[in-house]
Symmetry: C2
Subunit: 194 residues, 2 copies
């Protein structure tokens, strides 16, 4: 997605070989026009998948997910992140390890918003090791629903998440794929210019 | 806002005299069409205020805020919530007490996304005691920018936040105002049917 790649080039800040900061348009300040285009692009890429729900995780996934849900004409659900839980009635819970924060969180979704007939599109802002996406997929599968696809705004393709998700059989669509952040420079994975 | 009031009547669950659960369309599952209409309504109510930024707080404020920002054609920023912070460089920090969770959080916004010339529209999903809205307003004022208005999706008008914010001189626009949750029933404050 050219618009997004241009934005990464212009405003992305390479903090290290592993960390790309995009807080001017995706993680803290958000560009609503770009988010709308992201929603359109996910809708185009998952056309024909008969999506019934969009699922994301708080907080940075919410804006791209609500725009995608608007475009698809379906509800959006955001999973909540907790340190740990006592109350477990009527909720779906999965553990997700964060490599960035070096901690395990529990993510939760209320059972009443997913049913076995659902075809769920998972949306997230970043894909690195795939922990969050796998956690969301397990939530969907716990209830017997189908993961119809996984849409990622920025994939760090030098980390294994994308490959692992594809090996697990999921259709992963990343709007930009970053091949490397070495030498303080963003290098994109080869892709058709869209 | 009739659409929103209807939704509260149809799907809102009164958990106690103080607590209204709206997790089917605002706090967990979200209705994207409703969020778009919420964005349009805030834009209509704050027309002429020359808004330059929309500011909200994670997580449930993000969807109404991004839709408002899209309609206004300005960037959106979401403040982050933390338990407490050590790193304080280049960020604006305010303490916010949560009556619901009975804890004090620090909310933060990066200094680089606000400037003294900004006219900021604060958006939040709920208004009760006004702690979050006051915290966001102090963030805006710390940098010398102007709070151009405060837009609330659902105000619990039986709690003091709305009155306190207006007494402090802010223009507060709540799309629905709940006067009471007594006897398990939602009663709305009198307002012109829009």
């Amino acid at each position: 997605m050219k618009l997004l790649r241009d934005k990464v080039m212009e405003e992305g800040i390479v903090l290290s070989d592993q960390v790309l900061k995009v807080d001017s348009f995706l993680n803290h300040q958000m560009d609503p026009v770009l988010m709308k285009e992201v929603g359109r692009e996910f809708t185009r890429r998952f056309a024909g998948e008969q999506i019934t729900k969009v699922l994301t995780i708080e907080s940075s996934g919410i804006a791209p997910a609500i725009m995608t849900a608007l475009e698809l004409g379906v509800p959006m659900i955001f999973a909540r992140k907790h340190k740990s839980l006592t109350l477990r009635d009527n909720i779906l819970v999965e553990k997700v390890y964060s490599f960035t924060k070096k901690e395990t969180n529990e993510i939760t979704v209320s059972k009443k918003f997913l049913c076995p007939e659902d075809r769920v599109l998972i949306i997230d802002d970043f894909l690195a090791n795939g922990e969050a996406a796998f956690g969301l997929a397990r939530i969907v599968e716990q209830i017997g629903a189908k993961v119809a696809g996984i849409g990622i705004v920025i994939e760090k393709a030098f980390q294994p998440g994308g490959r692992l998700l594809q090996e697990a059989g999921y259709q992963v669509e990343s709007l930009v794929r970053v091949a490397s952040l070495e030498n303080g420079t963003v290098t994109f994975a080869e892709e058709v210019i869209s």
